[in-house]
């Protein structure tokens, strides 16, 4: 059954198709006058499809399958030979009858050619939108200790806000390009590996209201050693080809494959060492107690002066080690090329027992056995284990460590259990009567959550060259993973809530599968001597399927025997799953005029299972670029200049099952319960639409010694799928609606320069600078505010009409309207007002500055990056204040703080308070702290990377093709770090207790944290050998 497309869209698609096919039959070769042959310089094989242009007459032709061409030309005319992937050559026509030209292959990473959507290689000169090419060393050399390839890109991509969850090895990373566009949906860039989208979903994000185990994501499964290059498409321009998921930009990863005639073995080994870099400053004067009086079973450090232990928290964290080993071998003949790699990563976390172990195997075979038919088969297997995933957030392990009383030594801390004489099993021992926190050593020794993922991605494609100008490709890919998570909690554990008699054990089984069937027709034809067209026509069918359930054994028949068989009350929980399909047809055409002016047009129609019938939506794009230095007369020092502009629309479908009101069954007393979902269905759900415009200027001067690439952009996302609060009395807590208009605008600037280029010494420098501004033009006629999540601890993350995405609202210190002074209550303690704006989590600007100095065989690389603006509300800080452990709580312990404020009558405050009164009041036991008192400026400048590499002299080491040893460091120190926003009279500004870029997760809930571990600094050594 063919779905109905409305007539306008049909017309547009039809027009585009006709336009493409109309010309195909008309193509004719020019009459020959001069003939010749073009071969490859590497292997002397003939090259087909080489453009031959007579620069004098502007007539053009192409080489055939045997590399032969013929073109009209007079002696003395200059001919230009160009082919994607090869350096162009220019030759004068001589009297000799046959010309022989050999073209040198260009290294792929040279920025002339990039891999764009669907693995199509294109010359950058023709692109109408911004891309940034990143070399594989960016993710290979100084690796982030999360083990996530995305985290290693921090500071390297102009305009990318990369936030790595603080959940240790395997953490998920949020990559936002050009601002947040969606309130309830995904804002992460799409990851594409070898032309196929790579699932990067992560489990539901932590929001800090309770403990949680962080989340991993798909990108964490990618072996950095397999990466050949990365190309970042910052705008939604690729969406026509990748579909809606590329609306937030795309990160295209090309992996290595075998190459003809080169047999190589690469070894890359590294050892890194992580240590706590930034642990908050503690007070080291006072011990356990309250009101300066020591007491029994007290958790807080508000007692009298005591012998304290400066490093009792620091010593809880470990110095961890990371080992990466990878070996790959590749090579091939003309007809068969292969690539095999194996990598083993072991990444240690700073929380005891936490580690990631990843094994990945990658196999790729390319063949050309049958004439005109090329095949590409890839198989990738990843096994990833994360042991003892750290419990974060409120009641997380870091909170348990932060609140360790200052007068508690390691021996007392290590005394975390007693033995139950009845069972012989350990029982929790804690220093206070708290039923919320456990000793962190109990948590790391007696609770564990482990995760194993097996992931297989496979791809098979066949390309048939129908004619020299038309090829057709068919491709099938699938990506499938199984996640098994188990959790074990010894009996008597309290920090995870309800652990019943005998202990608690669970297993979570999740399974994700995605398959994509693609057909793509590629063609290119010279329409006239000066006008050429390249076009694609494709269709794809995408299926995604997910299912998960949890087997729960809360209560074990034999205590602490962690098996489902021991369950006293076996239970299935969280049974969930979905299936969704997306079918698409798309077309694109690029017209190249004189190879200097390019016009790109794309169109796509999607049919999704998640929208109501007819399930269909359409989106086009158009782009224009011109090589100005060839069009206009420019000084000779201008090497290259291009201006570009494009306009893109991207539609986006929604999650499955939103159209109909759901009622769910759940276990409970009697026969169980059925309840209506608290989320109101949206039967008339419409697709989201992002309209985006960008313009750019790419200039290179002095033979590429200096250059810049500037992009200006603006995007509007309308018909947002908003998750809005409804008055709770309606029986729904939230509803989906389609509304809103979010605008993002900004610029990205990349500056590159080679100030010094001598034989022995060179200096290359590059600067990325970007800024994004966001405005919520409209939300909804009935509501002017949407919450990003329900959580309102510390601060609520909201979207307010007329303001910016990601505003943080919470309790603020009340100001007297007349004098502007702070206000206090009858006790002299701060008065607060709810629902006040505290900040916004988005940075105003990002800056990354990298330098590379080469001297003889040494290379020194540095990366400094800066994040300017943005606020974070720190629940960790509220805990440190509540428990009297923060350094600033030493002031006014004995009382005597009279806050410079006014009382309710406007009279000057005269009531003296103590530090404990102040901090316990504003921190609300740490769990519900008043936001403004714990809001920090996220601005920071840090030395992100530093490395020194030495290339060995291969003349003395004949066995190697390449050998390099490097020393690297990451997150070494801060040049600047923002302080608290609030300047409390008499106390001043305080330091942010956590890394300003730390995060609970990689979702839209940002700008609020609680219970994150300290940031780490990484040092290491890396050895690369090529045989």
């Amino acid at each position: 059954m063919i779905a109905r497309i409305d007539s306008k869209r049909l017309f547009f698609l039809g027009l585009l198709s006709c336009f493409l096919f109309f010309y195909i039959g008309r193509v004719q070769a020019q009459q020959v006058a001069r003939t010749g042959k073009v071969t490859s310089a590497t292997d002397q094989k003939p090259l087909a499809g080489v453009t031959v242009l007579n620069l004098s007459t502007q007539l053009a032709g192409h080489t055939d399958q045997d590399g032969n061409f013929s073109i009209k030309a007079a002696a003395g005319d200059r001919l230009k030979f160009s082919l994607i992937g090869y350096k162009s050559a220019e030759l004068p026509v001589t009297t000799a009858t046959a010309l022989t030209v050999s073209l040198t292959q260009e290294n792929f990473t040279i920025d002339e050619v990039v891999v764009t959507a669907l693995g199509i290689k294109r010359e950058t000169r023709g692109l109408t939108y911004a891309t940034q090419q990143i070399s594989s060393s960016a993710v290979n050399d100084a690796r982030d200790n999360s083990g996530n390839i995305m985290s290693s890109l921090t500071g390297k991509v102009a305009g990318a806000v990369i936030t790595t969850a603080s959940s240790g090895p395997g953490a998920s990373a949020r990559v936002v390009l050009r601002g947040n566009k969606s309130i309830s949906g995904n804002n992460n860039a799409l990851i594409v590996v070898d032309g196929v989208p790579y699932d990067n979903s992560s489990a539901q994000q932590a929001t800090g209201t309770t403990y949680n185990y962080g989340t991993s994501d798909g990108a964490a499964n990618i072996n950095p050693d397999d990466v050949e290059s990365i190309n970042v498409l910052k705008g939604p321009s690729a969406a026509a080809l990748y579909g809606s998921r590329a609306a937030n930009g795309a990160i295209l990863i090309t992996t290595k494959q075998g190459k003809t005639g080169r047999y190589t073995i690469d070894y890359n080994g590294s050892a890194f060492f992580d240590q706590v870099n930034l642990l908050t400053q503690f007070q080291n004067t006072y011990g356990r107690g309250n009101g300066g009086v020591s007491g029994s079973n007290i958790g807080e450090s508000w007692g009298p002066q005591a012998q304290t232990y400066k490093n009792n928290v620091k010593d809880f964290y470990e110095n961890s080690a990371t080992f990466n080993n990878s070996i790959s071998t590749y090579g091939g003949t003309e007809k068969l090329q292969g690539y095999v790699s194996y990598a083993n990563n072991k990444i240690g976390g700073i929380i005891p027992g936490n580690a990631l172990k990843r094994n990945s195997l990658n196999l790729r075979v390319n063949t050309a056995f049958i004439p005109k038919l090329k095949t590409d088969v890839k198989l990738n297997y990843v096994n990833q284990k994360i042991d003892n995933r750290p419990r974060l957030g409120d009641m997380g392990i870091p909170v348990e460590a932060y609140i360790i009383p200052r007068d508690m030594d390691k021996n007392e801390l290590l005394d975390y259990e007693t033995i139950d004489p009845n069972t012989g099993q350990p029982l929790r021992k804690y220093w206070s009567g708290s039923a919320i926190y456990d000793n962190p050593y109990w948590s790391t020794n007696r609770t564990s959550v482990n995760e194993v993922r097996d992931r297989i991605t496979a791809l098979g494609s066949a390309t048939y060259q129908l004619t020299d100008w038309l090829s057709i490709m068919g491709r099938y890919s699938f990506d499938k993973y199984l996640d098994n998570t188990d959790g074990s909690f010894f009996a008597s554990t309290v920090s995870v809530g309800d652990v019943r008699k005998g202990g608690k054990y669970y297993e979570i089984n999740a399974r994700y599968q995605e398959s994509n069937l693609d057909f793509l027709v590629n063609g290119k034809n010279p329409l006239t001597e000066r006008l050429a067209i390249t076009y694609n026509l494709g269709a794809s069918a995408l299926r995604r399927k997910y299912s998960s359930f949890q087997n729960m054994a809360n209560g074990l028949s034999i205590p602490n025997e962690f098996s489902l068989k021991m369950a006293t009350t076996p239970e299935f929980l969280a049974i969930a799953g979905y299936e969704r399909r997306l079918n698409s047809i798309y077309a694109s055409a690029q017209f190249a005029f004189d190879n200097t002016i390019f016009l790109d047009m794309t169109a796509r129609n999607d049919w999704t299972s998640t929208l109501k019938a007819p399930h269909s939506y359409f989106y086009p794009s158009i782009g224009l670029s011109a090589i100005v230095n060839e069009l206009l007369h420019m000084p000779s020092w201008v090497t290259f200049g291009k201006i570009r502009a494009s306009y893109t629309q991207v539609g986006n479908d929604a999650d499955p099952y939103l159209l109909r009101q759901l009622y769910s069954f759940g276990l409970g007393a009697g026969n169980g319960f059925i309840s209506r979902s608290p989320i109101k269905a949206i039967p008339d759900l419409k697709p989201e639409l992002t309209k985006s415009f960008e313009a750019g200027l790419d200039m290179k001067f002095f033979e590429n010694r200096l250059g810049f690439d500037l992009t200006l952009y603006k995007s509007n996302t309308v018909n947002q799928l908003l998750f809005l609060g409804l008055p709770m009395a309606s029986g729904y807590s939230r509803q989906y609606i389609n509304a809103g208009d979010i605008e993002n605008g900004g610029f990205e600037l990349q500056l590159t320069a080679t100030p010094i280029k001598r034989e022995r010494f060179s200096w290359e420098t590059s600067l990325n600078l970007s800024a994004n501004t966001n405005k919520i033009i409209a939300l909804h006629d009935k509501t002017k505010r949407a919450n990003i999540t329900d959580n309102n601890r510390y601060a609520t993350v909201v979207v307010n009409e007329g303001e910016k995405y990601g505003d943080l609202y919470g309790y603020a210190w009340k100001r007297d309207q007349q004098s502007g002074k702070f206000m206090v209550d009858d006790n002299g303690l701060p008065l607060v007002e709810a629902n006040q704006k505290l900040g916004n989590f988005n940075p105003k600007a990002l800056l990354g500055w990298s330098n590379s100095f080469s001297y003889r065989r040494f290379t020194l690389n540095t990366l400094v990056d800066a994040r300017i603006g943005g606020e974070i509300v720190s629940g960790t800080s509220a805990y440190l204040a509540a428990f009297g452990v923060a350094d600033y709580t030493t002031m006014y312990r004995e009382g005597g703080l009279i806050l410079d404020a006014v009382d309710l009558n406007g009279a000057a405050n005269t009531k003296a308070i103590s530090a404990q009164q102040l901090w316990t009041s504003v921190s609300q036991n740490g769990r519900d702290g008043w936001g403004e008192f714990f809001t920090y400026d996220m601005t920071n400048v840090r030395l992100r990377e530093l490395s020194i590499a030495y290339r060995f002299d291969l003349k003395k080491m004949a066995a190697f093709k390449n050998a390099q040893l490097s020393l690297t460091g990451r997150n070494l120190f801060f040049f600047y770090r923002g302080k608290s926003k609030l300047d409390i009279p008499g106390i001043g500004k305080t330091n942010n207790p956590i890394d300003p870029e730390a995060a609970l997760g990689a979702g839209n809930y940002q700008g609020v944290e609680v219970g994150l571990p300290p940031a780490v600094r990484t040092f290491g050594v890396n050895l690369k050998l090529t045989f």
Partner: protein
């Protein structure tokens, strides 16, 4: 290959299965008669609160304000009247999101006059009277309607509707053929026994009538007399208790929080139980883990006080072994014990008070009062007649609970029926409060209405709206109303007739 591409194209635009694919296999999208009994059970469990909500909505709120319990931990500050705003929202979730939609589905999908509809209406009143008695005016008449704006309603109109619903429901149940059961095995309170449901509904009608007895004595009398005439709970076999389960977080809320052991017997109830030598002392509470004594803590202790060994949870009395047991090392919760909703003893105490008001309660105040005590004893397994007789005729007075603060006796009233009306009212108040233990929600509401039993003031109030010596009167509206229903909230606050804080008295709370 080209053929393959064309085939692919035709496949791709095929959307025949899409509607089916987009149907969630793990959830239900159409509600039929088959689903209604399950929805009723959900509404029942939610209205009485399972463990997830019980702690923050009841145990750390009304149970403390009724001074059954006092906190022994500094992790929460509600015992010092410093409220945690997010917990107010949770009570709204309990009633509006988890209870009301299920009940409304039943009302909308059953015939007028059906037993199922009647039971749904009774549960509706149960859920909503607890909510309005916490907050005051609330969105009521348009509750559970899928609207963007839901108006607030004044308490008098809400109460009036409670009486109407209960009256109609009872009439409908009485009209059912004899022997009819409604929702049968799905009903977690009475297994569908219509007679018990009638008595529960009438008892609740009586409870609500007494609640408005000061603000609207005429209506109060009419409703109370009609309720008694229609048959209220008279025996413990008619008590409303709710089935609980280990599955699905549906455990007994009090058993769950008792395991965490962050609160203990309040000195207020200790003063009465110890002074009266009440046989229920060892049933309602158990000896402390250390020292093995019935020890108590005053409400509103400061952090410094809570640091004293005498105020630690292990040195004080946890709730009784009905809810939690100590195996010598750890506390083990009796998670599946039935949860108490309402007991016959309460009906007798309500009738006793009505009788003092001069209403026709089918008995004298004194006999109803003493019958109430006897029923409460029987309910908790105290069956020795001599013990009960001694108790009823005892002149013992509350005594000093022997707490850290050396508190003196909280009151001077004995159990033995007094001679003057003021004392009799106090006695009824005290004995009802003891009988309905551990129902802190009802006890706090009645304390606010009657001022009984006499309580200790909290040691320290951290809430500037509630200066020392005052008692908490209500809870402020949840912050979600500010963000999602502001215009109506503003009108609702006007209906409240005072500041939206914890010091403003509710409509029926008049002196």
């Amino acid at each position: 290959m080209l053929y393959g591409a064309l085939l692919g194209l035709s496949l791709i635009s095929c959307t025949k299965d899409f509607d089916q694919i987009n149907t969630d296999p793990n959830n239900i999208t159409v509600i039929t008669q088959r689903e209604l009994p399950f929805m009723f059970a959900k509404a029942q469990s939610s209205a009485a609160m399972n463990r997830s909500f019980y702690q923050t909505v009841q145990n750390l709120g009304a149970d403390l304000y009724a001074q059954y319990f006092a906190l022994t931990t500094n992790s929460f500050s509600t015992d010092r009247y410093l409220l945690t705003p997010d917990w107010q929202r949770r009570f709204w979730t309990v009633v509006y999101v988890d209870t009301a939609p299920q009940l409304k589905s039943i009302m909308d999908n059953t015939e007028v006059g059906s037993g199922e509809g009647a039971l749904a209406n009774i549960m509706w009143v149960y859920a909503f009277h607890r909510l309005t008695d916490h907050f005051g005016p609330i969105p009521y008449f348009a509750a559970a309607e899928a609207r963007d704006v839901i108006p607030y309603d004044p308490m008098d109109k809400i109460y009036s509707d409670f009486f109407t619903r209960l009256t109609i429901a009872v009439d409908q149940l009485k009209a059912l053929p004899a022997g009819t059961t409604v929702f049968q095995d799905y009903d977690l309170m009475y297994n569908g026994n219509v007679e018990n449901w009638i008595r529960f509904a009438n008892s609740m009608r009586l409870r609500l009538a007494l609640r408005i007895s000061k603000i609207d004595p005429i209506k109060a009398r009419a409703e109370a007399e009609a309720a008694v005439a229609a048959g209220v709970m008279e025996s413990n076999g008619q008590n409303a208790t709710m089935l609980k389960s280990l599955s699905g977080n549906d455990t007994n809320g009090l058993s769950q929080v008792a395991v965490w052991n962050e609160f203990s017997m309040s000195s207020t109830i200790a003063s009465y139980l110890k002074g009266y030598e009440d046989p229920r002392l060892g049933i309602y509470f158990q000896p402390s883990l250390t020292g093995k004594a019935f020890n108590s803590v005053r409400n509103g202790a400061t952090a410094t006080d809570l640091g004293q060994p005498r105020n630690q949870s292990r040195a004080n009395s946890n709730v009784g072994t009905y809810w939690v047991r100590y195996n010598g090392e750890v506390l083990e919760g009796n998670f599946t014990q039935n949860f108490h909703i309402m007991c016959a003893a309460e009906s007798f105490m309500l009738r006793a008070e009505g009788a003092l008001n001069g209403w026709n309660m089918d008995g004298t105040a004194r006999t109803l009062y003493e019958q109430g005590i006897r029923l409460s004893m029987a309910q908790w397994g105290v069956n020795d007649e001599s013990i009960i007789n001694n108790y009823v005729s005892s002149t013992h007075k509350p005594k000093a609970p022997g707490d850290y603060h050396n508190s003196v006796a909280v009151a001077q009233t004995p159990v033995k029926w007094g001679s003057i009306e003021a004392e009799q009212r106090e006695q009824i108040g005290v004995q009802k409060w003891l009988a309905i233990y551990p129902n802190g929600m009802e006890a706090w509401a009645e304390y606010r209405r009657t001022g009984y039993p006499k309580m200790y003031t909290v040691l320290k109030s951290d809430n500037p709206d509630l200066p020392g010596g005052t008692f908490i009167k209500r809870l402020p509206y949840p912050l979600t109303e500010v963000t999602d229903n502001l215009a109506e909230l503003t009108k609702g606050r006007a209906l409240l007739g005072g500041a939206d804080n914890a010091a403003t008295k509710l409509w029926w709370d008049v002196d």
